[in-house]
Subunit: 382 residues, 2 copies
């Protein structure tokens, strides 16, 4: 494998001097322990949740390229105002990549480990932007026969996040939901789940193209936040669906507050008496992304029964516990080529992932642009 002993691993380093350094380092491939396997990583997505660690607040317009063709080094300036938040990772070279899939190429001595030899498995746990990844047998999710690593690369983050949304909706007593940046891979997945499970879903998009993507896959409620009639359209969709919980990938600006205001207006369409504190129906927005880094602005035209908060997959999984978590994972594997299928616009090698023009595209976090890294494509792979 590779040069037999080493594999390339992508690293992100923020230096005390205020510089981000992205590089590919050669790391030795460890011998697997009795209950471990070595996976040749063949597909690992660049999710918005990876970009915080990979690029962080660095200003990529200042990017410079050094190093070699096989091991390029990218450096870029981190604005001084952002350095405070970097304190805990300064001068620490960090591996990147939340999830991926690949083929087991060597195993430890246990029967469970040996049984995985040659299997295609999905993985989560970081350090996936690498040619090889060692992990314990129980951390691997074996994929059904006929599933490629590319098909299994996004088994965790998007599918479990989308299922986490409908689960959270049910657990907190709501019966329909709202999603923003709704034409994303995640948003399309959520639409497929909601259509299958009969959950009314209001999709908020930012342009006509995105609305078109969703209409094509059968989404019923689509509102465009850039339309002059946005607030009316949203209120009508909320009145029709009864949605009182939203998951917001945008974060900054007025959108979260607008959603709460429209929810309150939808509820009050059927209100029978004046309540000086607004309706008593709890309205919730969970912010799970930060496509807009501006502050959140809440105008509070929505009474007193409201909440806005952060939402993340891992705390959610901790909260529901391993048994419920396993049920969600089983559903993902069973519906991997249908409900939970992901689409990528470009497949790149580790070296190509560090090309400045590629970074410029995936770091925009645009809906519709999604990169998949194949760390064993070209380069020094086997």
């Amino acid at each position: 494998m590779s040069d037999g002993e080493n594999g390339l691993q992508l690293r992100s380093l923020v230096k005390k001097s205020g510089e981000l350094e992205l590089s590919l380092v050669k790391v030795p491939i460890p011998e697997p322990g009795p209950d471990e396997v070595v996976v040749r990583v063949e597909a690992t997505p660049i999710n918005p949740s990876d970009l915080g660690l990979l690029i962080g607040p660095a200003d990529m317009s200042t990017a410079k390229v050094t190093g070699t063709k096989e091991q390029p080094v990218i450096t870029a300036k981190v604005p001084e105002a952002a350095m405070g938040a970097m304190a805990a990772r300064l001068d620490e070279s960090m591996p990147v990549g939340n999830e991926g899939a690949g083929v087991v190429v060597s195993t430890g001595s246990s029967d469970d480990a040996k049984a995985l030899m040659g299997e295609t498995v999905a993985m989560i746990g970081g350090a996936m932007y690498a040619q090889y990844r060692v992990l314990r047998v129980n951390e691997c999710l074996p994929l059904p026969d006929g599933t490629t690593p590319a098909e299994g690369a996004s088994c965790f983050v998007n599918p479990l996040t989308a299922l986490g949304m409908t689960e959270t909706m049910r657990r907190e007593g709501h019966k329909a939901l709202v999603h923003t940046a709704a034409a994303s891979n995640l948003g399309q997945m959520l639409n497929r789940i909601c259509l299958k499970d009969g959950i009314p879903l209001v999709n908020i998009v930012r342009n006509k193209e995105q609305a078109g993507i969703l209409r094509e896959i059968g989404a019923k409620h689509i509102v465009d936040s850039t339309a002059p009639s946005f607030m009316d359209d949203l209120t009508n969709a909320l009145a029709e669906t009864g949605a009182t919980i939203a998951f917001d990938a945008i974060g900054g600006g007025r959108l979260a507050g607008q959603i709460l205001t429209a929810m309150e207006a939808a509820i009050n369409k059927t209100a029978k008496a004046y309540n000086r504190y607004g309706s008593s129906v709890h309205k919730q927005v969970y912010v799970y992304g930060s496509l807009d880094p501006r502050p959140i602005e809440l105008n509070r035209g929505f009474g007193m029964a409201w909440g806005v908060g952060g939402w993340l997959l891992f705390p959610f999984l901790m909260k529901i516990g391993p048994v419920e978590g396993q049920k969600l994972r089983q559903r993902v594997v069973a519906e991997l080529k249908t409900t939970f299928a992901s689409h990528y616009t470009k497949v790149v090698s580790l070296q190509e992932a560090l090309q400045v023009d590629n970074i410029a595209v995936y770091n925009k976090r645009s809906t519709g642009e999604k990169f998949l890294i194949n760390p064993n494509k070209g380069g020094s792979g086997d």
Copy 2:
């Protein structure tokens, strides 16, 4: 009583034409049912929570006085932008006043009702800005001998709100709390509760005078949001107390976000490893007032484990149920002259409550200014 058959009642009316009208109307005193009593109201506070119904968004700089000395009428313009939120109360003359205390002057035929004759009782339930209030026996809270109506006038809103804060803190797993506009009557009460119960409390005030008020009653952690060192002071107080929940009376502006940012900084002072999503400790701000009507602005420098939401006393009481609620009420009565003592800067009649210069003072909602209405002081009382 009064003219024998009628009593004055304060009314607030928002007309479709965009005008607020405050008036005193003569209403018949109903015969009490078997299980009811008639209370002569002698003390009823003007709480910030009353002002929303009483004045609402009306522009009191446009106030005009008509009517008679005994029954003045105040009219003022409601800005057009605010009329949408008034839809459900338009052209409906509404009684005002959440809570109060007085003396039972006639009773129904049941033994329970008769037993209250002549007793001083505290009351909650609206329409307290009136000379007489009829209510059911089980809605009265009889006060211990030697308690005046003025002492019992604020038995519910502030005491139960303050206790609701420490209860919410415990129920949601926090061990210390933060309070803003902390030198208010409510804030002083909260300090007395926290000192007595050994709960660390961080008080945020807006000037030195307010800091002085709290220092005098023994508050330990006081930070001034107008000091240049505010964020450092707050972070230090939060690190010392471990407070991860705040109750905010201000609402608008950047304060809620600053509190979350300082909580995160305090937690990270002892963090051991870098987490790209910030600390995993949940940080919560409950907004229960609106002293600043501007939008809430959240800069999100506080990771992903956070929540901001509305908090109101009545939904809280519904949530904990009648048995727990009764325990809180019993504590209030037992400590009415100590922990839960209220202070008023001015006692006014119903007519004086409608004087434009008085409205200008209490409608400012300033810390330290607190009005008590005695509907049977002077005027046409008995």
